[in-house]
Symmetry: C2
Subunit: 452 residues, 2 copies
């Protein structure tokens, strides 16, 4: 029973599956698929190139397709839904909870979305329609509307009867929502309390009234932060008037936490975190080319700065040889500071109170590293070029650029954040523009003044 | 009851707290602290510079200090533990679960750790000692040893009696561990099943024997992957012989997921993810200077490549002006590919089967973007310099470098991963070395052959 999951488990199965698909060995495909749970099949579909992905998808029993779709990312989900006829989509969503139906509905074009909604039971359609009115990245857009609610004036015996009638309860069900007579949120009743209290106890005696509910418009990022802070397993979502809309459980939040943490990394390369590993090259190229274009503009600016000093370079070619080193060191030092500051911002650790101190600390780090590398640089340049003036100029430019890089690495993300611009997206490019241009300017400028 | 958490809530409270600390207004400090839960106080301590952090720490009631320490990161925890006398540490850990005691023990020097262990009850000490034998980043190092286990041959009535005796059950307790007569893991019993089945049912009739346990040596990263894949709330940890060691719950896993995702970002700037926001500048500088040194070596290599063509630059200074653009575009394109490949590796989506296809796809993206920017570059250089030969050379170098960047961006992380080196750490620098050096070499080389 002990499982030692190895990272290549899925890798090996993926390979066997792809082999079977490529050889059109449908028996082997069916046998391999039967050994996998829907979550694993989702992962394999995400890791498979489009042609085989579609072939594989067609071999999957429609009664599992819904749950598989619920676990894939938006891009792969859309591409798989494209393969299904309208009536197949209806069949596929049959067994799903409303939060998963909402995810699928969000991936469909409007007309298909309408057909899907019309095919649902009145109760489900109503629930899905409410969820669809909330943006995807809010508590309302994440929530499931399949929740169990009880009234506070009933006894535990009544609650137990209700639960027995429902039968199988999901693992993640740790508490019930308690509502008042009008349907407004009161608090939660821990299921574990049902085990440890007498049947004639009133729900009102046990309800946790301090368990705050989350408003439907709360951003997903903030929902994740609340779950992490209070170690929640589930939370209730309410509207403006405190009416219960649905429930969010930790498994949805885990996805948000992963996406949010990856967002910084992906955004800094100008990428969309939903990018399908095997999106068609033309589409991937189109998405990325915008970022390359922006970068070209910043590179042209740095190049323009060099152009200002072309006369100096013509006289001393060593300047052209050495200048990229200054720019590169500034870039790295600035990125180190910016990474720390962006993380502080995204974990909500940056306030008015501590940002000045953080800038001061980072500038001090820049000064210390600037001094270290200025001395090393002087020694290096002097040894290679036997020219102490050039060494001093290089060392001076290094010192100035490392301090400037630390300041820019702290100030740019903080400034962007205050202007409500996502620092993960824009800080990197702005920072490189500063460290490159300033690095070239200081080094070539100092050389022009001192030597020429 | 509806809470709308605003990102600056904590910011505002932090500022008020710091003001109160700075003015030595202890009454205000106590009143502000009483409005916060331990998790919030941990966040504030992490976001506070050392001097005020220590002053604040001294105002916190020792009976909350343990839980606060359990939520802070390793660096801040060590710095706070340093403030406490041995007898205070013992008092502080009094109310904690063993997994939190393990975290604290791991942050203590060996002699203090021993004193701590000796002060624990026999049962707790035994549990903590077992957990300490597992490395921090494994299932054994993360687990809590406070679990509830039952034997499979008893009835639900017996289980209910046991639970009533224990009283208050934690939220995250969703199932009990079922063991055989020898204490070996059999499976789990969902607490919700206790609610929906008769009291005389045997545990053996309800135990979920398919719920796999996790081996104590499973890396934390892999534990997180298992939890995410199967939407787990809790899992049992066992040793080689299938004896139950402890439990891991989703709240521990959420921390791992966040750390793991941040690791890629921090590692690519040569930073340690545990870095304290306010670590002393000299220590921060020392940590970062190593990375700057490595970068300097790569920058010197690129500079050496330029040096090979100093005669060409002397004749055509425009080469020096234009060369950083080629290098910069290659760097961005390579980073885009590497970011996607590193994410595929860390989410275990990369296998032998699909890596060739991924490399091919990325090379195609590089070719497409290379063509787009080669054409744009030719037009740009021709307009500025009125020199179509220079334009062609620049465009050719752009095309070659963007394709090479895509190939390097895919091959370097894949190669490092196969060599069991963390690609997040080393790929960025290696990539820049390739894109810079190759960019300079191709551009200056082409110019030297064609023009001179």
């Amino acid at each position: 029973m002990v499982t030692r999951h190895h990272p290549n488990d899925t890798g090996l199965l993926t390979e066997q599956l792809l082999d079977a698909i490529n050889n059109n060995n449908l028996l082997a495909v069916a046998s391999l698929l039967s050994r996998l749970v829907p979550e694993e099949i989702s992962e394999i579909l995400e890791a498979t190139p489009p042609a085989q992905r579609n072939a594989l998808w067609q071999q999957i029993d429609p009664k599992f397709q819904g749950e598989i779709l619920a676990h894939t990312n938006d891009q792969v989900r859309s591409s798989l839904l494209d393969q299904l006829e309208q009536h197949e989509i209806l069949e596929v969503v049959g067994h799903l909870q409303t939060d998963d139906i909402v995810d699928i509905a969000q991936s469909l074009p409007e007309t298909e979305q309408k057909t899907l909604l019309n095919a649902l039971s009145d109760e489900d359609r109503f629930a899905v329609e409410i969820a669809l009115t909330y943006p995807e990245n809010t508590a309302g857009g994440m929530m499931s509307t399949d929740f169990i609610a009880v009234r506070e004036e009933v006894t535990l015996e009544v609650v137990m009867r209700l639960l027995r009638k429902i039968g199988e309860l999901p693992d993640s069900l740790v508490d019930l929502i308690v509502r008042d007579r009008d349907g407004r949120y009161v608090g939660t009743l821990k299921l574990n309390d049902l085990l440890t209290h007498d049947e004639d106890t009133l729900v009102s005696a046990l309800v946790d009234r301090h368990k705050a509910a989350i408003h439907g418009m709360t951003p997903a990022k903030e929902v994740a932060h609340i779950f992490e802070k209070y170690d929640l397993i589930a939370a209730t979502v309410v509207d403006d008037k405190n009416f219960v809309l649905g429930r969010i459980t930790i498994d949805d939040v885990v996805d948000i936490i992963r996406d949010q943490a990856e967002h910084n990394q992906m955004a800094s390369a100008g990428l969309d975190e939903e990018e399908d590993l095997f999106s068609p090259p033309s589409r991937a190229a189109k998405r990325r080319t915008f970022w390359l274009g922006i970068n070209l503009l910043t590179a042209i600016f740095a190049s323009f700065v060099i152009g200002l000093f072309d006369a100096s370079i013509e006289k001393i070619v060593a300047l052209a040889v050495l200048m990229p080193i200054i720019a590169s060191m500034g870039g790295i030092a600035g990125t180190q500071t910016a990474t720390i500051v962006i993380r502080a911002i995204s974990t909500q650790k940056l306030s008015q109170a501590n940002s000045k101190l953080l800038i001061l600390k980072e500038a001090t780090v820049g000064l210390l590293n600037g001094l270290v590398w200025a001395i090393m640089s002087f020694a290096g340049v002097f040894l290679v070029f036997q020219d102490w003036t050039l060494g001093l100029i290089f060392a001076g430019a290094m010192l100035i650029n490392l301090i400037a890089a630390a300041l820019a690495g702290a100030l740019i993300p903080i400034g962007l954040h205050r202007m409500k611009i996502d620092p993960a997206l824009a800080a990197g490019l702005m920072l490189t523009t500063v460290t490159d241009s300033l690095g070239f300017f200081v080094f070539l400028g100092l050389a022009t003044i001192i030597i020429l």
